[in-house]
Each structure stands twice: as structure tokens, then as C-alpha cells.
């Protein structure tokens, strides 16, 4: 029985990962309604939280299993599962991940239980609904990260919005209605753009293949053609790229489309902030890396320098704004806007190192900002406020809190041996290849940007304890320490030994760049400069040219 069971699980691992949280949510909901109908009353709140926690941990365990099964040698998408959904629309229930998706999947599945626990105090009254919303959000985020069909992706993209808005609107803090309505408006506009892209691509595949197909990977070799085989002229690419990018740019978020984020973070409960900083932003990155870049290569290449510039400007702009924020959540929100700009800079370099760096950067900076939001949440529980001015000298009453805050800040600053360094290093190396002038500004912006983090750290933790209310603050308890430790471990692990992650992300990036080259319709593209005429010169300990064979290991 079991021998047949394990292969079945392994075969459908991605569906299981995506479905587990929401299935648990529905099971819990049904149970609650049944109990109420029978007249047995509500379950104790601990039971709700405990079951949900177990569900999220199981999901994480499943992603770890997926990571073990993942073959780092293979290029392209893995773990493909596809079942027809609405054939006429080209929509399939299709899951698959590459190395990038795997990393994001792991990080989102890992922070979800932490987000659940971290905000357990904020929702004591209405546990069932609250747990339902969190689990549904996790499923939606995981689904978007793991889906390999455009329409399916858009479905999860939109589905994630509902629990998110519910969570913020029902359990959020001050200004939640305004924040929620803003988020909804911008996301709705973005969604319209995405649906437009899906519609046009549906028409195009229908016209070119005779069958509608929005799948990235063909389900069976030679039978169905994939979305990546559709030919798009340059002007079509431009239109679609712009329509598609609006949603991505609002969600990542790239200044000046970030206006919803500070308000959202200020109003959001801790757990939601954590998920917005990690999974929510990562779905946008997936949209870019899995769909936008390979689908519209010529437009992306042409827009590359402008996007890089935009990234740097966004980084500088958000960092300067963070410098003058007086409220902690808004400050960290602007910090994350800045790092999103830096990630965009990395992605727009369009080379291996830059893209790899951007992925790592999203991963580690996401975790570090999540850690900061968690710590701020804990401070807010204790003091009832998140104004910077209300704190000072906290290292005395709360040394452990100061310790973790320091680790997160140092990782964001890109100190070696912490995760942030690896991403920053790769982005900068990549940018030197294709955006040399801008990279100098990137370097300066990156290093100087950190000064506001230092300022806030000093303001919160150092100096004398001025406020009497701060004197008796209790340090992080055991559960809170465990949450922060769980966020710190991957940051430190990636900093000390980044190669396992790099070895999984790089093939995905190579495949992505290969698809971009293959799909490009502007053939007069200049050849990569390094390879042209330097063969005659001596090379010192040069690594043998990469063993990239087009299509190697592809399914």
C-alpha cells in the first residue's frame, strides 16, 4: 500500500504543496460549520491555530521533499504536472518549477507557519475565519509561484488578493480601509493588463498552432506546442510587455508604483507584512522571470537600460525616503521598495550573474525584511506603538531583540557571511558586464542606502532608556525567539554556503537566457561582446567555456 503511495505523492508533489493549506482551511471550515450546526459550539482557539500550523508545516515539509527530488543538473522546468482545465482557453492545471521557483517556494512555505504564529495575538476573537484566510493566501502564493500556465498563474495571482484584502481589512491596524482600497484598485488595473496579455496570447497561439495553448512546457513532446513557441513581432512584444509589467511592477513594487505598500504595511498585521515581503513580492518576480522575460525578449532587451536606470532611481529614492520616516513599519516598507528597485536592477542586466543575484537578493532580503517586520510586530505588541520616537535604549531590556535586529540589518547591508552579501555581489558583478556606468551608482546607492538602517538601529536600541515605559519591556519569549531563529538560519546558511542555492538558480537563469535568445525575432542583435575576438590573447586560469548545450536536459 505504502509502496504505491509514495511514488504517487512524489508524482503530484507540487499539487499537494499548493493544495495542502487550502484543503486544511476548507476542512477546518467545514468542521466549524458542522459543529456549530450540530450545536456543539466552537472549537477552542488553540485547536484552530494548532491545526493550521500543522498544515503549514506539512506544506513546508513537502517543499523540502520537492527540493530533495529536484535535479540541479537539469535545465528548465521540473516536476511537471498538467491536466486540461478549459481547453478552449488554453488553460491547464499545470505546475512545474525551475530552480528559481523552487527557492521561492521553499521560502514562502517556510515563512508561512512563522507568519501564522507571529500574528497569533492579533486575532483572538475570530480564529476560524482568520486561519482560513491565512491558509488560503499561502495556497494562492504557492500556486502562483509553481504554476507553469499563464492563465493558471493569473488565476492564482488574482486569488491571492482576496484573502490578502480580507486579512488586511478585517484584522489590520489604523488606515486599513484606505490601504486595502488602494491595493485593490492598483491590483485590479494590473490584473486587467494581465488578462489582456492572456487574451492576446490565446489568440496568437490559436492562430499560429491551431490550438490554444498557454502552457510554458509542452505536455507531451511533439503533441502540443508551448506558449514559448509563439512568434511575436517586436511591436506586439512591446505592447504586451508593458501591459504585463504594470501588474508586476505594482506588486514587486517598483517606485513610483509603490504608493500602496507603505500604507499597506502600516496597516497590515505582522504575519501579513511577512508574507507581503516574501511570497507576495516573489510572485511578481516569478511573473517576470518565468513569463515576461522569455515571452517578450526583444522588448525586454530594448527596455533593459531604462529598467536598470529605473531600478537605481527607485533604490535611491526609496532609501532617501526611508531616511526620514518616523514610523517603523513605513520605514521598513520603504527599505523593501528600495531593495525591490535593486532586484529590478539585477534582473534588467539580463546576464547570468545579474539575474542570479536578483533571485538571491529577493530571497534573502525578503527574509531579512520579514524578520524586521516580525520584530517590529513584537515591539508593537509590547508598547502599542511603532513610532521610532517612542523607543530608545532597548538593548538593555531586550538584548535578544537587539541581537536579531542587528543580524537582519547587517544582512540587508550586505555584510559577508550573511545572505544579503551573495545577492548583492552577484548583482554588481552582473551589472558590470552589461551596465558598467550604472553599476558604479548602484554600488554607491547600495552602500549608502544602508545608513538609514543604521540610524534606526541606533535610535531603537542604543542610547539611554528615556521612556519609562521602555524600562520594563520583556525580551522575546521562547516562541518569538524560535520564529526569529527560523528566519535567521537560512540567511546565515546562504551567507556561509551559498553554492547549493546558486547551483539550482543558475541553470534556471541559463535556460531563461537561452529562451530569450531563441525567441528573439530581431536577428540583427549584436553578438555578446566578450566572445568575439579575444581568442588570440592568452588567458590565465580561464574556466573552460560553459558547457551549455541548447536544449540539454529539456523535456
Amino acid at each position: 500500500m505504502l509502496t504505491a503511495f509514495w511514488p504517487f505523492l512524489a508524482e503530484h508533489l507540487l499539487s499537494i504543496i499548493v493544495a495542502t493549506p487550502v484543503a486544511a482551511a476548507f476542512a477546518l471550515g467545514t468542521l466549524a460549520l458542522t459543529l456549530r450546526a450540530v450545536g456543539l459550539g466552537d472549537l477552542p482557539s488553540r485547536a484552530w491555530l494548532g491545526t493550521a500550523f500543522v498544515a503549514t508545516v506539512l506544506t513546508f515539509a513537502a517543499t523540502v521533499w520537492a527540493a530533495v527530488l529536484f535535479d540541479p543538473e537539469m535545465l528548465g522546468l521540473q516536476g511537471l504536472e498538467a491536466r486540461p482545465w478549459v481547453p478552449a482557453l488554453g488553460a491547464t492545471v499545470a505546475f512545474a518549477v525551475d530552480g528559481i521557483g523552487l527557492c521561492f517556494l521553499l521560502s514562502t512555505a517556510a515563512v508561512s507557519p512563522l507568519a501564522l504564529i507571529a500574528s497569533r495575538d492579533s486575532a483572538e476573537e475570530s480564529e476560524p475565519a482568520w486561519v482560513f484566510v491565512i491558509l488560503a493566501l499561502e495556497s494562492a502564493l504557492l500556486g502562483a509561484i509553481a504554476s507553469s500556465n499563464l492563465l493558471f498563474f493569473i488565476g492564482f495571482w488574482a486569488a491571492g488578493l482576496v484573502p490578502l484584502l480580507l486579512w488586511m481589512g478585517r484584522w489590520g491596524g489604523l488606515g486599513r480601509a484606505r490601504a486595502a482600497s488602494r491595493l485593490w484598485t492598483t491590483e485590479a488595473i494590473g490584473l486587467a493588463g494581465m488578462l489582456f496579455v492572456a487574451f492576446v496570447l490565446h489568440e496568437a497561439t490559436l492562430a499560429q498552432f491551431g490550438v490554444a495553448s498557454l502552457d510554458l512546457a509542452p505536455r507531451e513532446a511533439g503533441v502540443t506546442r508551448s506558449l514559448l513557441d509563439v512568434r511575436l513581432e517586436v511591436d506586439e512584444q512591446w505592447l504586451l510587455f508593458l501591459a504585463f509589467s504594470f501588474a508586476l511592477a505594482t506588486r514587486l513594487p517598483i517606485a513610483p508604483l509603490h504608493f500602496w505598500l507603505p500604507a499597506a504595511h502600516a496597516a497590515a498585521p505582522t504575519g501579513l507584512s511577512v508574507l507581503i515581503a516574501t511570497g507576495f513580492a516573489q510572485t511578481a518576480a516569478i511573473g517576470w522571470l518565468r513569463f515576461a522575460l522569455p515571452l517578450f525578449p526583444d522588448a525586454v532587451r530594448a527596455a533593459g537600460p531604462a529598467l536598470s536606470l529605473l531600478g537605481i532611481v527607485a533604490l535611491a529614492y526609496a532609501s532617501l525616503l526611508a531616511l526620514v520616516q518616523k514610523e517603523l513599519k513605513r520605514l521598513v516598507a520603504y527599505a523593501s521598495v528600495g531593495y525591490a528597485g535593486f532586484a529590478l536592477f539585477g534582473m534588467s542586466t539580463l546576464n547570468v550573474q545579474g539575474l542570479t543575484g536578483a533571485v538571491l537578493q529577493l530571497l534573502t532580503h525578503g527574509l531579512a525584511t520579514a524578520g524586521l517586520f516580525t520584530l517590529i510586530g513584537f515591539l508593537s505588541i509590547r508598547r502599542g506603538t511603532t513610532e521610532v520616537a517612542a523607543f530608545g535604549g532597548l538593548a538593555k531590556p531586550m538584548p535578544v531583540c537587539a541581537f536579531f535586529f542587528g543580524v537582519m540589518v547587517l544582512s540587508l547591508m550586505g555584510l559577508p557571511l550573511l545572505g544579503g552579501f551573495v545577492g548583492d555581489l552577484f548583482v554588481l558583478l552582473g551589472s558590470l558586464e552589461t551596465r558598467r556606468t550604472l553599476s558604479v551608482f548602484a554600488l554607491i546607492a547600495m552602500v549608502v542606502a544602508a545608513s538609514y538602517l543604521l540610524w534606526v538601529q541606533r535610535r531603537l536600541f542604543l542610547g539611554p532608556v528615556d521612556e519609562p515605559a521602555n524600562r520594563g519591556l520583556i525580551d522575546l519569549d521562547r516562541i518569538e525567539r524560535a520564529i526569529l531563529l527560523a528566519l535567521t538560519i537560512p540567511i546565515v546558511a546562504i551567507g556561509i554556503h551559498p553554492n547549493p542555492v546558486l547551483r539550482r538558480v543558475e541553470p534556471a537563469v541559463l535556460e531563461l537566457l537561452y529562451e530569450m535568445d531563441r525567441r528573439s525575432v530581431a536577428k540583427e542583435m549584436p553578438a555578446p561582446e566578450a566572445e568575439s575576438d579575444d581568442e588570440e590573447f592568452a588567458r590565465v586560469d580561464r574556466v573552460p567555456s560553459d558547457a551549455r548545450v541548447p536544449g540539454k536536459g529539456r523535456r
Binding site: L320, L321, V400, P416, F426, W455, R458, F537, V540
Partner: protein, 685 residues
């Protein structure tokens, strides 16, 4: 160019990693215990862990040095632990290993770092045991000391640039932690922030240099990250005349200048040189024990080491070298003046550090590489001694650091009095104390230098030496001679340190006296022009790695006159200070207003920090606050685009709906039909 991987039975190549890793592991253990577990372990265990780690590192360094001295010219010991970071494709791929190398340069610095560290550790343990230091802070102090020592050793032993940067950043963090050691104090926390921000500027320089160098080399088809690889690639490309080819020939010198300038910026920040010097005097709010390590063998070593490692590259970057010379000379002059006018003992010592490191920086600028390394070594012992004795003095004054309230300690604490004297003489380079020999070498190098400005530089160095001697003499007489000042708080009973504290100071005093004899042969050879066989002195040892001659080619009476000049200037400075302060102690601020203003300006080293605050920090904050936060973010994006835009949108939608939802059946039917038409068209098409 072979790497020695296996050598004698006593010392295996794979032991090198432990020189750096043992203190780092100790720091990690302490860090986890303090920050995470909040476990209190007994002080004895803390001392045991840290001292054992450093002692083991010292023994291993000695073993390594012994191996290195025995082997041939260009060899080194390499210890590769495994891959650390790697990635990329084709010519841009790189792989940075966790690998440590021990060559003459790193071996000498390793020994200096671990040796000084062990003595400082012993002194600190003595201080904690005898109650001179607060036991509550023992664990924290040793955690940070371990981090500082471990990071410095990683930096010195690193085989590639990324690992080097790791050590560099670690030193920066440790400096910040020490500056903000009394974190409950507002000034200390500010000093910590200043230290860190200045450190980041240095990091920026180093990162830029690293990345641009790698980029340039990989564009030329020779990517390398290891120091050896970079040098080999550099030489090869230079020899073929295709250096930085893909940058275009016109840009090649520019690239080298930028890389050189990045390195120089990094070194200037770590060595507390103009215009980024002010973090060091500010950070003296930290414990003097820590500064005994920080100012003697860590920050200075870090800054000078990076320049020595890249000496081959800096030779092709004349602009960067000129910056180096200018900064070194200006710092030596201004910092010695600042030291001469200080009223606060730790700040005074910090300015003397800047002065001496200025000499070293200047030496590297004019190509006297091994002289600079020699100066760093001799300086480290006298500075460590000076700071430890200063710590004794300060605790005798119940933590008061103000020179105006000190005086007459000599009679009560004779031992401390003599130790301070030895440290001071060693620092200012009184003949025949440690610093005399490298400073004399530097002056001789300047004398024979063909640079047009070398005369001026020589004058600057000699004057700074005199002012430095005056400053140290002034501090000495103010503290130990004269009478006990009325406002001074004195610990009672007042006595010299005892036990291990005393022993550690004595060892350092012996070294501060005799450190210069590491290269006496060079000196005598120079002065007497007698043909002495080339001896294996530090200078000659280092030339296996560092370019340039170890000794100025100046022999005979000229050299003798120069040496006499240096010696005389020192005596003169001391004599002036004795005449002014030996009897009467501190005499109040100068009366004449112009002199008073000049004194304050010199004391604050011309208010560089305030200038940065006014010219840079405030405008940026103001710009962010007014233009960005209020202007663009609030008014433009929030009000006009988002609220205004959504207002317009809402208006439009409502307008359409109002028109459509008018309650008339005809219009509903029309809408329904139109919708149906659209759907049918789409499905048919």
C-alpha cells in the same frame, strides 16, 4: 611559484586555517551565548576559551613563520578549506574558495596580531580578576575582542579578495561594537554609528576596487580573484601590452586609477587618515583595552596590508599614489597638532595613532613598502603598551579621562610612570626605541627620493615627529609630574598594577624598547657604510612579497646626519614639553583670542566632522524630507496621481453607471444584447 601543501611533521599546511578560525569560532560561541541563549557562563570559562584560542593561534603563527623562513623566495603555504562562493559562465565565472595563504607578509602580520592580542588578553584578564575592570562586561569584551582578532587574521591570511573582504568587514563591525561599547551612553552610540558609516565608505572603496578589477581582468580574458592570480594575470597582460584591452587603451590607465583610488579610500578609512579620520578619536569612548588592540594591530594593519598586497598595482596608478602621499602627510601634520592640543587622554592617543599611520601611508606612497610594514610592527607594540598604561591611569582617576584633572601620579605609581615613559619614547621614536628605526628609514627614503615635493614631505615628517614628541611629553608630564590637581578623583589606595597585568606590561615595554633592533644591521650599514653582510631582517624577508628596496640606498655621513636630525627633533619636542609642563602642569587655555581659537581648531582637527554634517548630512535629510517625502511622495504621487486619479476614475465610472442604470427596461435590454453580441462574436471568431 609553488604552493607548499605538506611540509615538516611539526607544522602541517592545513593548520593555517585554525589561526584565523579559532578566534572566530570563540567569537561565535560567545556571540551565541550572549545574544541568543542569554546564558551566563563563569568568567573563568570565558577567559579560558578566548585566551586558549588566541594562544593556539599564536603558536600556529610561530610554526607557520618558522616554515616560511625556511623555504625559498616565492613560496607560500596554502590551506584550502573548500569552495565558498562561485558562479557565472565563461570568462566571467569565478569561484572564491575558503582558502588561507601564509607568505612572508601575512606571516609577519599574523605573528604581530596574535602576539599583541595575547598580551592584551592577559592584561584584560588581569584587569577583570583584580577588579580594575567591570566584571559584568567581561563576556561582551572578550566576544568582541575575539571577533576583532579573528577578522584581522582572516584579512591577513585570505587567499582571495572575497575572503579578504570578509575579514575587512569583520574588523569594521568589531570597531563599531567597541565604539558603542557603553551603548547606554548617547555619545558612545553616536560614535558607533560614525565608525560604522565611515567603515562603510571604506567598504565601498574596497568593493568597487575588487569588482572593477575582476571585471577588467575578465574582459581581458584573465579572470582571477586570488591575490596570486591577480598579480600573475596583471604581469602577464602587462607584459603582452594588452592590458585592459577591451576597456580601450584610452580607458586603461583610468581603470587602474579608479581601482587604485578605491583601495586608497579603503586604506584611509581604516587607518583613520584625512579626510575620514574622525571616527577614531570619537570611538575612544570604548574600553582602552580594546583600543590597545584596535589601534595597534587591527585597523592599521588592515589598511596598510591592503596597500602592500596591491603595491604592484598601485605602481601603475600615480594619481592614487599622489592621493596617498597627500593624505598621509596632511594627516601626520594635522593629527600631531591635534594630539599636542588634546585635553582628553584617549583622544590624544588616537590622534598619535593617526599621525604614525600617516607616516606609514606616506611611506607606501613613496614606495618605501617594507619600511611602512616595519613601522606598523614597531608602532603596534608601543601603542599597545601606551593604551594599556593609559587604561591603568584612567582607572586610577576613577574613569576620568581629562588631562586637566590629572597630575602627580608619578610618585604614587612609579612603575606606571616608567612604563608610560617607555611607551611614549617608543611611540615618538626616541633613539634607540622602536619607532626610531623605521622613521629614520622613512626620512632617508624621502631624502633620496626624486620627487619634486620630497623636500616638503621631509620637512612635514620631521616637524610632525617633533610635534608628536611634544604631545607625548606633554601628556606624560601632565599625568605623572607636578602635583595632584584639585578637581581630580583618585582611586585609593593608589598603586601600580600587579600580577599578570604588570607582567604583560613589562613584556610590551621590553618589546617597545627593543622592537627596532629587528633591523639594526640595515641601520648600522647605512650610518657607518661598513660592509655588513645582508642579514635576514624583516625588511629583506618582506621583499620576497613586497616590491621595492627594503632599505634606502643612502650610506655614510648623510644618513648619519639624517638620523641625528630625527633624534634631535624628538629631543627638542620633549624638551619644550618639559619646559612648559614638567613643573606647573596644565596652565589653562591660552589667553590671546587668536591663539585660543587656533588651539580649538587644531584640537578638533579643523572640524571635519561638523563640516560633513553641515554640508552633506543635513542637506540630504532636508532634501529627503521636503522634496521627496512631502513633495513627490505626498503631494505628487499620493494626492494628485493616486487620489486624484482614482477620483477621476470613480467619477467616470459613476457617470457611466448613472447613465446606464436609469431604470428603463429598454436600455437594460440594449446592454444585454450588446453583451451577447460580443460573446458570440468572440466565440465564433
Amino acid at each position: 611559484m609553488d604552493d607548499l601543501t605538506t611540509t615538516g611533521a611539526l607544522f602541517a599546511g592545513s593548520m593555517i586555517r585554525w589561526i584565523a578560525l579559532l578566534p572566530l569560532v570563540a567569537a561565535f560561541v560567545h556571540g551565541v551565548l550572549i545574544g541568543l541563549v542569554r546564558a551566563r557562563i563563569s568568567d573563568r570559562l570565558v577567559f579560558g576559551i578566548s585566551a586558549a584560542a588566541v594562544f593556539a593561534a599564536l603558536c600556529l603563527s610561530m610554526g607557520g613563520l618558522y616554515e616560511i623562513v625556511g623555504v625559498g623566495a616565492a613560496e607560500r603555504l596554502l590551506d584550502s578549506v573548500g569552495p565558498w562562493i562561485g558562479g557565472g559562465v565563461g570568462p566571467r565565472s569565478f569561484s572564491a574558495e575558503l582558502a588561507f595563504q601564509l607568505d612572508p607578509l601575512s606571516a609577519v602580520f599574523c605573528l604581530a596580531v596574535t602576539g599583541t592580542a595575547l598580551i592584551v588578553y592577559v592584561h584584560a584578564i588581569g584587569g577583570f580578576v583584580h577588579g580594575a575592570l567591570d566584571r559584568e562586561t567581561a563576556h561582551r569584551t572578550f566576544a568582541m575582542l575575539d571577533l576583532l582578532v579573528g577578522s584581522t587574521l582572516v584579512l591577513v591570511l585570505a587567499d582571495n579578495l572575497l575572503l579578504f573582504f570578509l575579514g575587512w568587514a569583520g574588523v569594521g563591525i568589531a570597531s563599531q561594537l567597541f565604539a558603542a561599547f557603553d551603548f547606554e551612553d548617547r555619545d558612545a552610540s553616536r560614535a558607533g554609528a560614525t565608525t560604522f558609516v565611515i567603515g562603510r565608505v571604506g567598504d565601498l572603496g574596497l568593493l568597487a576596487a575588487m569588482l572593477l578589477l575582476f571585471d577588467g581582468l575578465s574582459r581581458a580574458g584573465a579572470p582571477a580573484l586570488t591575490f596570486r592570480g591577480i598579480e600573475a594575470a596583471f604581469r602577464l597582460l602587462e607584459g603582452q601590452g594588452v592590458l585592459w584591452l577591451s576597456y580601450g587603451l584610452a580607458q586603461a590607465p583610468l581603470l587602474l586609477e579608479i581601482v587604485g583610488f578605491g583601495l586608497v579610500l579603503a586604506a584611509l578609512t581604516k587607518c583613520a587618515q584625512l579626510p575620514l579620520h574622525f571616527w577614531l578619536p570619537q570611538s575612544t569612548t570604548g574600553p582602552t583595552t580594546a583600543h590597545a588592540l584596535l589601534q595597534s594591530v587591527t585597523t592599521g594593519v588592515a589598511g596598510v596590508y591592503v596597500l602592500l598586497r596591491f603595491a604592484f598595482l598601485l605602481e601603475s596608478a600615480p594619481g592614487a599614489l599622489r592621493t596617498l602621499i597627500l593624505a598621509g602627510a596632511a594627516t601626520a601634520m594635522l593629527a600631531s597638532l591635534a594630539a599636542a592640543n588634546q585635553l582628553n587622554l584617549p583622544r590624544l592617543i588616537a590622534f598619535t595613532t593617526s599621525t604614525v599611520l600617516g607616516f606609514a601611508i606616506l611611506g607606501i606612497g613613496i614606495g618605501a613598502h617594507s619600511t611602512a610594514a616595519f613601522l606598523i610592527l614597531t608602532h603596534s607594540v608601543s601603542k599597545a603598551l601606551l593604551l594599556l598604561v593609559a587604561g591603568v591611569v584612567i582607572s586610577a582617576q576613577k574613569g576620568d579621562t581629562d588631562l586637566r584633572r590629572m597630575g602627580g601620579l608619578g610618585r604614587r605609581m612609579p612603575g606606571t610612570h616608567w612604563l608610560f615613559l617607555i611607551a611614549g619614547l617608543g611611540l615618538v621614536g626616541a633613539f634607540p626605541f622602536a619607532n626610531f628605526f623605521p622613521i629614520e628609514e622613512l626620512v632617508a627614503f624621502l631624502w633620496i627620493s626624486a620627487r619634486p615635493e620630497s623636500g616638503l614631505l621631509l620637512a612635514v615628517v620631521v616637524t610632525s615627529v617633533g610635534v608628536l614628541a611634544f604631545a607625548m611629553g606633554r601628556a606624560f608630564f601632565l599625568i605623572f609630574w607636578g602635583n595632584v590637581r584639585p578637581g581630580g578623583l583618585l582611586e585609593s589606595p593608589l598603586r601600580d598594577p600587579v600580577g599578570w597585568q604588570q607582567n604583560s606590561l613589562t613584556i610590551l615595554a621590553v618589546l617597545a624598547f627593543s622592537g627596532g633592533f629587528l633591523s639594526p644591521a640595515q641601520f648600522w650599514q647605512g650610518v657607518t657604510a661598513a660592509p655588513i653582510e645582508q642579514m635576514d631582517t624583516v625588511g629583506y624577508f618582506l621583499t620576497r612579497v613586497v616590491p621595492g628596496s627594503p632599505d634606502p640606498e643612502l650610506v655614510g655621513s648623510e644618513r648619519g646626519w639624517l638620523a641625528a636630525l630625527v633624534g634631535l627633533v624628538v629631543v627638542l619636542g620633549l624638551a619644550v614639553s618639559a619646559a612648559r609642563y614638567a613643573r606647573r602642569g596644565y596652565r589653562g587655555e591660552p589667553k590671546h583670542p587668536a591663539v585660543a581659537v587656533a588651539t580649538v581648531w587644531m584640537r578638533e582637527m579643523f572640524f571635519f566632522e561638523r563640516a560633513y554634517q553641515i554640508l552633506l548630512v543635513r542637506p540630504v535629510r532636508l532634501l529627503s524630507e521636503l522634496a521627496l517625502a512631502r513633495g513627490i511622495e505626498n503631494q505628487l504621487i499620493d494626492r494628485m496621481v493616486v487620489s486624484g486619479g482614482s477620483g477621476l476614475l470613480r467619477g467616470a465610472v459613476w457617470g457611466v453607471l448613472r447613465r446606464v442604470q436609469n431604470g428603463r427596461a429598454q436600455s437594460y435590454t440594449l446592454i444585454g444584447l450588446l453583451t451577447l453580441l460580443v460573446i458570440v462574436t468572440w466565440m465564433v471568431a
